[in-house]
C-alpha cells in the first residue's frame, strides 16, 4: 500500500477501514541465505538495503523483543554530519545524504527536519577545535558556519549571554543538522524490507551461533534453529553477549545513557543546541516536548535506567545555558544501553576468522543518525564481502594495530575516557 495525502483523505472518508499491516509478522523458516540478528534501526536498514541495493531478499531479521525496541526507540533523535576525522567524515556525510531522501525512498514520513544544529563553544581553544571540525565538514562537501557570539545571539536569543558560568564565545552552525521521528525510522525500514520479501521475526531471541570449522552455519533461537550462510550481529547494547556466542570478546563496554523529555510546550526552541562546557543537548519535538540528554552515567550497565547525579548534571547544564527552560517539566527519563568502543567510533566489519559472520556495533551514543549509512554499508559488506568505501575504516582490528583510530573527542583510545 502506498501512503499519500490522498490515501489518508480517502480512508478518512471511508472510516479508515482500509489500512493494513505496515509489515508482515513472519514465522521463522528453517533456512535463509542471510540472517540478521537484531531488529533495531541498523538491523532493519541493513535488511532493507540488502533487498533494495543488492536484490537479496531471502533474509531473516531476528528480534528478541519488538522491532525498533532498542536504541532507535529511545534516543534524542539528532541527525548530523559534523565529524572531522577521516573515516567518520565521509561515513556520516553519506548517512546525511541518505536521510535527505529517506522519506521518498521509504514512502514513510520519518519527519526528518533539518532545523539546524548549533554546537556552542566557550573558549578560544574550543573555537579552534570547532573550526577544525567545521573546515573538515566543508572539505567533505557538507555545510558549516562559524558563528561569533553575536551570530549565536541572533539565532538563539534566549541563551544566557550575561551571567552564565562559561560565557558563549560562538557556535558551529550545521544547517543541515536536525532531528527525525525515531520510531518512524525503524517502522519505515521495517515496512520497506518486509514489502521486498524480508522476513521480520519478532520475539525470537538468538541463543547460539552455529560455527563449524570456522564457518557460520546458522543460529539457535528461542523459536528453533535457523540455518543461514551469512549471519550479521547488529545488536548494539548487547553486542558483547552475542559475540560471545561466537567465542569472541569485543572492544566494547556497555554503558547507560539517559535522555529526557518534558511536557508538551508551544514552539520555543527551533534548533538543536549543544552546550560546550557540560554535557547537554536539546531540541524540541514536533509534539512540543523538549528532548534532551547529556553524558553517560559512567558505570558499565545493562539496566536501561540511570541515576540522579547525571540527571542533575544535565539539568544544571541546561539551567546555566538557557534559564528560560526552568519551568519546563521533565515528564519522562529513560536510559539506553550504549556500545562504547575505546575510540568512540563504530565497527562495521567481518568477524576475522569466522567465515560468514559479520558485525555492526560500537555506535557509542551516536548510532541514530548512522542508521541509513550503517545499513547501506553493512549490506554492501555482506553482499560483496568487501567494505563500502565510506565505512572502510570501521575495522575491528584498528585497536590492535593502531591504524585508523578515530578518537573524535580526543580523550584517548581507552575505555571510559569519553
Amino acid at each position: 500500500m502506498r501512503f499519500s495525502s490522498w490515501k489518508v483523505f480517502t480512508e478518512g472518508l471511508s472510516g479508515n477501514k482500509g489500512w493494513s499491516a505496515h509489515w508482515r509478522d513472519a514465522q521463522p523458516k528453517s533456512e535463509y541465505d542471510y540472517i540478521i540478528i537484531g531488529g533495531g534501526g541498523h538491523g532493519l536498514s541493513t535488511a532493507y538495503y540488502l533487498a533494495k541495493n543488492h536484490g537479496i531478499t531471502n533474509v531473516a531479521v531476528l528480534e528478541k523483543g519488538y522491532l525498533g525496541g532498542g536504541n532507535v526507540g529511545r534516543n534524542t533523535t539528532i541527525v548530523r554530519a559534523n565529524y572531522f576525522l577521516q573515516g567518520n567524515s565521509e561515513f556520516y556525510s553519506h548517512s546525511l545524504k541518505l536521510w535527505e531522501t529517506l522519506e521518498e525512498d521509504l514512502n514513510y514520513n520519518v519527519m526528518h527536519s533539518q532545523r539546524g544544529l548549533i554546537n556552542l563553544f566557550h573558549s578560544d581553544g574550543q573555537r579552534d577545535a570547532f573550526a577544525r571540525r567545521g573546515n573538515m565538514m566543508i572539505n567533505q562537501g557538507d555545510d558549516a558556519i562559524l558563528l561569533d557570539r553575536e551570530g549565536v545571539r541572533k539565532e538563539l536569543p534566549y541563551l544566557d549571554f550575561e551571567q552564565t558560568r562559561f560565557p558563549i564565545y560562538g557556535g558551529l552552525f550545521h544547517k543541515r543538522g536536525g532531528t527525525a521521528r525515531h520510531d518512524a525510522v525503524a517502522w519505515g525500514y521495517a515496512r520497506g524490507a518486509s514489502d521486498r520479501g524480508v522476513d521480520l521475526i519478532q520475539n525470537c531471541e538468538v541463543t547460539g551461533i552455529d560455527i563449524v570449522d570456522g564457518v557460520v552455519k546458522g543460529v539457535q533461537t528461542t523459536r528453533g534453529p535457523i540455518k543461514g550462510n551469512k549471519v550479521a550481529i547488529i545488536v548494539a547494547g548487547r553486542s558483547g553477549q552475542v559475540a560471545a556466542m561466537a567465542g569472541r570478546r569485543l572492544p566494547i563496554e556497555s554503558h547507560v545513557l539517559q535522555a529526557f523529555v518534558t511536557e508538551g510546550l508551544k514552539p520555543v526552541i527551533d534548533h538543536v543546541i549543544s552546550f560546550g562546557m557540560g554535557h547537554f543537548y536539546m531540541s524540541q519535538s514536533d509534539k512540543g516536548g523538549l528532548v534532551f540528554g547529556g553524558d553517560l552515567d559512567f558505570y558499565a550497565s545493562y539496566a536501561s535506567r540511570g541515576n540522579l547525579p547525571m540527571k542533575e548534571h544535565v539539568m544544571e547544564a541546561g539551567m546555566t545555558l538557557m534559564p528560560m527552560i526552568g519551568k519546563a517539566k521533565v515528564l519522562r527519563s529513560w536510559g539506553g544501553i550504549m556500545d562504547m568502543t575505546p575510540d568512540g567510533s563504530p565497527i562495521i566489519d567481518k568477524m576475522e576468522g569466522i567465515d560468514g559472520l559479520y558485525i555492526d556495533c560500537g555506535w557509542n551514543y551516536g548510532g541514530f543518525k548512522a542508521v541509513p549509512a550503517s545499513g547501506w554499508c553493512m549490506a554492501h559488506l555482506m553482499a560483496t564481502d568487501t567494505p563500502h568505501d565510506v565505512a572502510a575504516k570501521y575495522r575491528l582490528d584498528r585497536f590492535r594495530t593502531g591504524i585508523g583510530i578515530m578518537d573524535e573527542e580526543g580523550t584517548g583510545s581507552q575505555h571510559n575516557l569519553h
Binding site: 499519500s4 478518512g12 499491516a21 508538551g264 544544571e316 546555566t320 526552568g326 519551568k327 594495530t401
Partner: protein, 977 residues
C-alpha cells in the same frame, strides 16, 4: 456549587484569584480546580490534538483534564495541574492551548477533521513536495502542538536541592502511610513521611469513612499531630517522591512556594535526594475512567474525584449528578451526594447484581453510550441490557471503571507489575525495588482496614530488618468492605471513545494500531502516543491495554505493559538543576593574583575552573593585540611576570618516587639529581600523550611534579591509579599542593636581576643554572625557586605559600615595571610559547603520541613505562602520521588561523586531499610574522616545502612554508643566558 457543612476549606477565609482574567471566589484550602468547580466553571482547557473542551476529571496530580498556566511574564508556569495548585489571594491563572480564547478556539476545527487525523496519520502524508515539510507542514504542526507555553525569559525564581537520610521513608500519607509512620515513629526509627498533598490523610480526606469511631479526616489529623510531636519523624507535605534509584536513593520534589503569594527568601521548589535504609510505598490508587462515546466532556469526572470535591472541599461538581460504574465503590459517591443534599440523577451500573440505592435510582446492567453538551455536559445516553436507549439530563457524570494501584515506583528499577484478575489491574511485584515494600491501595488492598493493617505490617517488617524493637499496637477499627467489580473498559458503539484525554487517543486509534500491526504494547503506545501525555497514562494505560488485548485476541497479561519511568510527576528542570543558573554551574577557582590582575584592568578568562588574565592593557592601547605585542616584547627584552599557579602541583615523597616516576613518565627521573628539574612526558596506556610538565627533585625522597592546568585532576587520579592498582609495592605518598603554593613566572633577560633584589641570598649562573631548583627565602619568607622557562627566555618560577601570593605578585610586577617590564597574560604567554614551538593541549589533544610531536627520543628504551608498548603499534608511527611542524606565511595572504586544514599547494581543498591541520597560531612581534603550529602528514620530512592552508569557515587561503616548530632561538641560548 458549595455545599454547606462539608469540607476542610476555611469558609471563614474567603479570597479571590483570577482565571482568564475573571475573578473567582475561593477559600483558603481550595485548589484552583475545586474553586472553579464551585464557581461552576466547567471548561478549563483544550485537548492536545482535537482541541476539545476539557474540564476537571480527577482530583490529584494525575488529573488529565485541567492543565492551566499560572502567572505571567518571566514567572509564567505552564502545564500546572489545577487540581494541585492551591489558591491564594491574587493568584493569576489562565487556560492554555487555545487561540484566540478558551471559548472560541480556532484549532477546534481539528475536531471536525478527526477522520483524517487518526493514529499515525502523519507518517503517511506530508511527504510531497519534499521542501514543504520544513517550510509548511512542520511549522504548522509545531504551532498547533504543544500545550502550555514557556515565557521565553530567564526564569527568575529560586530553587534548591537538598539531601536527607532516614531509616524509613514512607511514600504517601493515606491510612497505610500514616499507620506505617506511626508504627515506625513510635518505635523510635528515623522516619520521613512524604505526601504530595498539602494536607496529609490521602483518600481519608475525600471520604466519609470512620476509623476507630471518628471520622477518617479527624483520625488522619490526630495521627499527623502525634507524628509531628516526634523528633525522629520528619513530615513533608507538598512533597512528591518522584523516583526510586539505586541503593535506597529516592528523588522527591517539594513544592515549597507554589501556594504562597510572595516568595521572599523561600525557594519555589526543592528537589530532595533522600537516602533511606527501607521504604514503604503507600501511594494509593487511581480510579480509572471508562471509554464510551464522547466521554471527554467537561463535567465527566471520576467518581472518587466527585467525592473528594464534595467531602474535602465542600463543592458539588454538579447539580444533577449521574454515576456510571462497574463496582460497589462508586456507589459511595451517590450516597455521599444524597447525604449532602445533592440531586443524584441515577446510578448506571453495568452489573446486573448491583446493589440498590437509597434515595436514587440504580439502572442495573446498563451502560452509558454517549454524552451531549458542547462545552459542558448536558445529558448522557445509556443503554439497557435489552438494547433500549434512554437519556438522563445531567451536568456531572461520576464514572468508575475500577481502580489502578499506583505501582509506578515499583517499576522504576525495571520491575514489571503482576496482573491481578480479582481487581482487574496490575499490582506490584515483590522485591522490584530493594528495601521497598508496598502497602494499602497501591498494593491492591482497597479497604481502609487493609490499608491500616498493611501499613503497620510494612513498618514492622522494616523495623525488624533494621533491628529496631517495637511493641505491637492494636489497629483502629475501619471498614473492610470487599471490592467487587465487573470488567468494563470500553462501551461498544460508534463514535470516538477517549482513552487518553490529554493526547486525544481513542479506542479507534488503538484498534487501528492493532490493524496496522502495531500489536506490541510498546508499538501501540508509540504509534498512537497513548500514555505519553503529561499524566503518562496513569488514567488510561490499563484500559488501553485491555482494548489492545481485545483487538489482538490476547489476554491482558500476555499483552504486557509498558514501563513506568521516573519521574512519577513531572519535575521542573529548574528544580533538578537548582543552583546552576548563572555562575553556579561549576566552582570558580581564583588565583592569589586575581584581585591584582582585575585591579590592573586585565580581562579575566576561564581556564577550566580557573580564571586567568588575558592581557594587561596599558594606557593608550585599544586592542588586545597591542597589549599582547607589548607584553611579548617586554619578556623578550626586559622581564615579565605571569601567575602560573593554576598548573597542577603534586608533591611526591618516599624512597621509591624515582622508580615510580620512571614508570609514569616516558623518560628517566630516578637519575635526576637533587636540586634539578626535568621536563617529562606522560602517556596514557594506549600510547597517546596524556600530559607534560616539569618535575623537580627537592630532596633525595622528595619530588614536586607540575602538570598542565587542564590535566591537574586527571594526572593526580592517574598517579594514584598507577600507584594503588599497578605498583602498590612502591613506597610513595602523594598529595596535590596546587592550591597551597602561589607560583609566578619571572621571565626575561632581567629576571635574575629582579629576583636578586628580593632573594635573601643572591643567585648567579653557577649557583642556579638552567633547570636548577631549590628552597630560597624572599624577604624572610620561605619559598621555592625553579629555573625553568616556557617562554624560551632566561626565566624562573618562584613559589611561595599561597597566603603570600597576592603581595609577592604585586611586588614582582612593581619591580618588573621599574625595569621596563610588567605583568603578562595568557595571550602573550601563548605567543611566547608558539615562538619557541612549545606544546600545550592544543597539540597534545588526546590523539597525538610522542612520535607525532617529535618526542620519540624521550621514550626511554631502557625501561618500561605506561603507554610504551601501545605507542609502538604500527599505526602510531611512520610517514602516514601527521607530525608537528611550524608554518610561516609566504604569500600575499599573511594570516594563519587555528583549525584550518593543510593541502598540497596544487590540490583542491577537499577531504581526500587533506594533509593536516593547524593547532596554534599567533602573531609574533619578535619575528614580525604570523606563526603556526600544525600537524602535517610526514611533516618532519617536509621542512621547506610550500603548502596551502585553507580555512573555509573564515574564507582564508594562505601559502605557508613548512618549518621546524621552534621558530625562535632554536639553539636555546637565551634560557641559559
Amino acid at each position: 456549587m458549595r455545599v454547606n457543612g462539608k469540607g476542610l476549606v476555611d469558609r471563614s477565609a474567603p479570597l479571590s484569584f483570577t482565571f482568564d482574567g475573571k475573578s473567582v471566589e475561593a477559600y483558603a484550602g481550595d485548589t484552583v480546580a475545586s474553586a472553579l468547580l464551585a464557581a461552576e466553571i466547567k471548561m478549563i482547557a483544550r485537548s492536545f490534538k482535537y482541541h476539545r473542551p476539557r474540564g476537571v476529571i480527577g482530583a490529584g496530580s494525575e488529573d488529565p483534564g485541567a492543565l492551566i498556566t499560572v502567572g505571567s511574564g518571566a514567572v509564567q508556569d505552564p502545564n500546572v495541574r489545577a487540581t494541585v495548585q492551591e489558591v491564594y489571594a491574587g493568584l493569576e491563572t489562565r487556560s492554555q492551548n487555545c487561540w484566540p480564547s478558551l471559548n472560541v478556539d480556532l484549532l477546534s476545527l481539528n475536531d471536525l477533521a478527526a477522520p483524517f487525523l487518526g493514529a499515525g496519520f502523519y507518517y503517511k502524508t506530508f511527504m510531497w513536495p519534499k521542501a514543504f515539510w520544513e517550510k509548511l507542514y512542520e511549522p504548522v504542526i509545531r504551532r498547533s502542538a504543544g500545550i502550555g507555553a514557556l515565557s521565553g525569559k530567564h526564569n527568575p525564581d529560586t530553587y534548591e536541592k537538598a539531601f536527607a537520610f532516614c531509616d524509613l521513608l514512607v511514600i504517601g500519607a493515606g491510612p497505610a502511610g500514616l499507620m506505617a509512620a506511626l508504627t515506625a515513629g513510635r518505635a523510635g526509627a528515623e522516619v520521613i513521611l512524604c505526601d504530595e498533598d498539602s494536607v496529609m490523610g490521602g483518600r481519608l480526606n475525600g471520604e466519609t469513612y470512620e476509623i476507630g469511631g471518628q471520622s477518617g479526616q479527624d483520625w488522619a489529623a490526630r495521627a499527623v499531630a502525634e507524628l509531628s510531636a516526634m523528633d525522629n519523624v520528619r513530615l513533608m507535605t507538598r512533597t512528591t517522591v518522584t523516583g526510586a534509584y539505586d541503593q535506597g536513593t529516592y528523588g522527591a520534589l517539594e513544592r515549597v512556594g507554589h501556594h504562597l503569594g510572595g516568595l521572599g527568601d523561600t525557594p519555589l521548589e526543592c528537589f530532595w535526594r533522600i537516602v533511606a535504609k527501607r521504604s514503604i510505598l503507600a501511594a494509593g490508587a487511581i480510579e480509572r475512567p471508562v471509554a464510551f462515546r464522547n466521554n471527554d466532556r467537561p463535567g465527566i469526572m471520576t467518581a472518587s474525584a466527585v467525592r473528594t470535591y464534595l467531602n474535602r472541599y465542600g463543592v458539588a461538581p454538579g447539580k444533577k449528578v449521574t454515576i456510571f460504574a462497574n463496582n460497589d465503590d462508586a456507589h459511595r459517591t451517590a450516597r455521599d451526594l444524597v447525604a449532602a443534599g445533592v440531586h443524584v440523577a441515577g446510578v448506571i451500573d453495568t452489573r446486573q447484581d448491583a446493589p440498590d440505592g437509597e434515595g436514587y435510582e440504580v439502572y442495573k446492567g446498563a451502560e452509558v453510550c454517549n454524552s451531549e453538551g458542547r462545552k459542558a455536559l448536558e445529558a448522557v445516553t445509556f443503554r439497557y441490557p435489552d438494547g433500549r436507549e434512554d437519556k438522563l439530563q445531567t451536568d456531572c457524570l461520576a464514572m468508575s471503571g475500577g481502580w489502578n494501584p499506583s505501582v509506578h515506583m515499583t517499576c522504576h528499577m525495571n520491575g514489571r507489575p503482576t496482573w491481578n484478575e480479582d481487581i482487574l489491574s496490575f499490582v506490584p511485584t515483590d522485591g522490584t525495588v530493594p528495601g521497598m515494600v508496598t502497602a494499602g491501595a497501591c498494593n491492591g488492598a482497597f479497604s481502609t482496614h487493609a490499608a491500616l493493617a498493611q501499613g503497620a505490617a510494612g513498618a514492622e517488617a522494616a523495623l525488624g530488618d533494621l533491628g529496631i524493637k517495637m511493641t505491637k499496637a492494636d489497629l483502629p477499627e475501619a471498614e473492610d468492605a470487599p471490592y467487587r467489580l465487573k470488567p468494563l473498559w470500553a462501551v461498544a458503539g460508534k463514535g470516538r471513545a477517549w482513552l487518553d484525554f490529554q493526547n486525544d487517543v481513542t479506542v479507534k486509534d488503538v484498534k487501528l494500531a492493532a490493524a496496522e500491526n502495531f500489536r506490541s504494547v510498546e508499538h501501540m503506545k508509540r504509534y498512537t502516543t497513548q500514555g505519553m501525555a503529561p499524566d503518562q497514562g496513569k488514567n488510561s494505560n490499563v484500559a488501553a491495554l485491555a482494548v489492545l488485548a481485545d483487538a489482538t485476541g490476547r489476554g491482558i497479561p500476555e499483552t504486557g505493559t509498558t514501563t513506568f519511568r521516573p519521574p512519577y510527576v513531572p519535575v521542573s528542570i529548574a528544580a533538578l538543576g537548582a543552583g546552576a543558573q548563572g555562575d553556579g554551574f561549576a566552582p570558580q577557582r581564583f588565583t592569589t593574583s586575581h584581585k591584582a590582575s582585575v585591579d590592573a584592568g586585565a580581562p579575566m578568562i576561564e581556564a577550566g575552573l580557573w580564571y586567568r588574565p588575558s592581557y594587561f592593557p596599558a594606557p593608550g592601547e585599544r586592542t588586545w593585540r597591542q597589549s599582547c605585542d607589548r607584553e611579548v616584547n617586554m619578556v623578550r627584552n626586559a622581564v615579565g611576570i605571569c601567575d602560573v599557579s593554576t598548573l597542577g602541583k603534586i608533591d611526591l615523597q618516599g624512597p621509591d618516587v624515582g622508580e615510580f616516576l620512571d614508570f609514569v613518565y616516558t623518560n628517566m627521573f630516578s637519575t635526576l639529581k637533587v636540586g634539578k628539574t626535568r621536563y617529562g612526558l606522560m602517556l596514557r596506556e594506549d600510547g597517546t600523550v596524556m600530559d607534560d610538565g616539569t618535575t623537580a627533585r627537592l630532596g633525595e625522597n622528595h619530588f614536586v611534579m607540575t602538570t598542565t592546568t587542564a590535566a591537574a585532576g586527571p594526572v593526580m587520579r592517574h598517579l594514584e591509579y598507577v600507584h594503588q592498582c599497578l605498583r602498590p609495592d612502591l613506597d610513595v605518598s602523594m598529595i596535590s599542593v596546587t592550591e597551597q603554593w602561589a607560583q609566578f613566572a619571572v621571565a626575561g633577560p632581567k629576571s635574575r636581576e629582579l629576583l636578586n633584589g628580593l632573594l635573601d641570598v643572591e643567585i648567579d649562573d653557577a649557583s642556579w643554572p638552567f633547570m636548577a631548583c631549590g628552597e630560597v627565602t624572599l624577604q624572610g619568607i620561605k619559598g621555592r625557586l625553579f629555573r625553568i622557562s616556557f617562554s624560551g627566555e632566561h626565566a624562573y618560577e618562584v613559589a611561595v605559600p599561597s597566603r603570600y601570593g597576592d603581595s609577592l605578585f604585586r611586588l614582582l610586577v612593581a619591580r618588573a615595571e621599574a625595569m621596563g617590564g610588567g605583568a603578562y597574560g595568557m595571550e602573550a604567554l601563548n605567543v611566547l610559547r608558539i615562538e619557541k614551538g612549545h606544546i600545550t593541549h592544543a597539540e597534545i589533544h588526546g590523539r597525538t603520541n610522542a612520535f607525532d610531536i617529535g618526542f620519540a627520543r624521550m621514550v626511554s628504551a631502557k625501561k618500561d613505562c605506561i603507554g610504551k608498548t601501545m605507542s609502538e603499534r604500527p599505526g602510531l608511527v611512520g610517514e602516514e602520521r601527521a607530525q608537528l611542524v611550524g608554518l610561516k606565511p609566504v604569500g600575499v595572504v599573511q594570516q594563519i588561523t587555528a583549525g584550518a586544514h593543510l593541502f598540497n599547494a596544487d590540490d583542491d581543498p577537499v577531504r581526500e586531499n587533506e594533509q593536516g591541520y593547524t593547532t596554534s597560531v599567533g602573531f609574533s612581534p619578535t619575528l614580525e610574522s604570523y606563526l603556526g603550529l600544525a600537524f602535517l602528514r610526514n611533516g618532519r620530512a617536509r621542512h621547506g616545502e610550500e603548502i596551502k592552508m585553507v580555512d573555509h569557515l573564515r574564507g582564508i587561503t594562505t601559502r605557508c612554508v613548512v618549518c621546524d616548530p621552534v621558530f625562535f632561538d632554536p639553539e636555546g641560548g637565551r634560557v641559559r643566558g
